[in-house]
């Protein structure tokens, strides 16, 4: 069986769906952040597959930016995680209801 672009896109969709599933179901805030990484990674895979399909290089530039955004997001997110954990000794996101206005 030959590998086509749709295989890559379906794999990317599966990875993204696993990420969404994790974000929705897990209550550990660290694992939620990891699932966000998984979703960004699925986007990268789709970018590269389409870049190969069209023969352009723009996708490679864009995944550089995606990875930059992911790194920044993780840095800020983990700083928040440490701050929250110090305050309430738990990683349960359901305890963050105090944020409501």
């Amino acid at each position: 069986m030959e590998i086509t672009v749709s295989h890559y896109i379906v794999l990317s969709a599966i990875l993204f769906a696993i990420g969404v599933y994790g974000v929705m179901t897990r209550r550990n805030i660290l694992v939620v952040l990891m699932c966000l990484e998984l979703m960004l990674n699925a986007c990268n895979l789709a970018f590269i597959a389409f870049s190969k399909l069209h023969g352009g290089m723009a996708g490679h530039v864009f995944i550089l930016m995606t990875i930059t955004v992911a790194a920044a997001e993780v840095a800020v997110g983990l700083a928040f995680v440490v701050a929250i954990y110090k305050q309430r000794q738990s990683l349960d996101i359901d305890l963050l209801k105090i944020l409501k206005g």
């Binding site: 030959e2 086509t4 672009v5 749709s6 379906v10 794999l11 969709a13 599966i14 990875l15 993204f16 769906a17 696993i18 599933y21 994790g22 929705m24 179901t25 209550r27 550990n28 660290l30 694992v31 990891m34 990484e37 998984l38 990674n41 990268n44 895979l45 590269i48 870049s51 190969k52 399909l53 023969g55 290089m57 723009a58 490679h60 530039v61 995944i63 550089l64 930016m65 990875i67 930059t68 955004v69 992911a70 920044a72 997001e73 993780v74 840095a75 800020v76 700083a79 928040f80 995680v81 440490v82 701050a83 954990y85 110090k86 305050q87 000794q89 738990s90 990683l91 349960d92 359901d94």
Partner: protein
């Protein structure tokens, strides 16, 4: 594995495995530069940050009990999962296009090509990402500092 495991350390290591596998797929797609930064930045820097936080917080086993199986919630999102994947699969297998018929340009995926594109057509977004990183660094420092005081 990333989603289903209860221990965050095992989740993180499974995520490293996933990222490495994706890097291999990038190499198969002739995207060598993308594969390199995937391994260096993602599997290197970001995962070290994750593991560092997990170790730093030093979570006990009984503190993870709250994350137990929540069957109705999980079933609901399993349906969402199946719908998303099924939609993409049905849509894309109709317009399947083989890679083997495509011939790449001479130096597709090399650092030189990516760099040329990055500093000509995409100069403004590139500079904006650098500003984003600076903002993130300053933000993290501020968050970390306020809690100490």
């Amino acid at each position: 594995m990333v989603v289903s495991n209860k221990n965050p350390v095992i989740s993180a290591i499974s995520l490293v495995l996933t990222l490495f596998s994706t890097a291999v797929l990038f190499i198969l797609l002739n995207a060598h530069f993308a594969a390199a930064i995937q391994v260096l930045v993602y599997a290197g820097a970001i995962m070290v940050l994750f593991l560092f936080t997990v170790m730093f917080l030093n979570i006990k086993d009984d503190e993870l009990r709250f994350d137990a199986l929540n069957i109705p919630r999980r079933l609901t999102f399993l349906f969402v999962f199946i719908i998303i994947v099924g939609y993409f699969a049905s849509k894309l297998f109709i317009t399947s296009k083989s890679f083997s018929k495509l011939s790449d340009p001479e130096n597709f995926g090399t650092v030189k090509e990516v760099g040329t594109l990055l500093f000509t057509d995409y100069l403004l977004p590139f500079e904006l990402t650098s500003i984003l990183i600076v903002v993130a660094i300053v933000g993290v420092v501020v968050i970390a500092k306020v809690r100490k005081a």
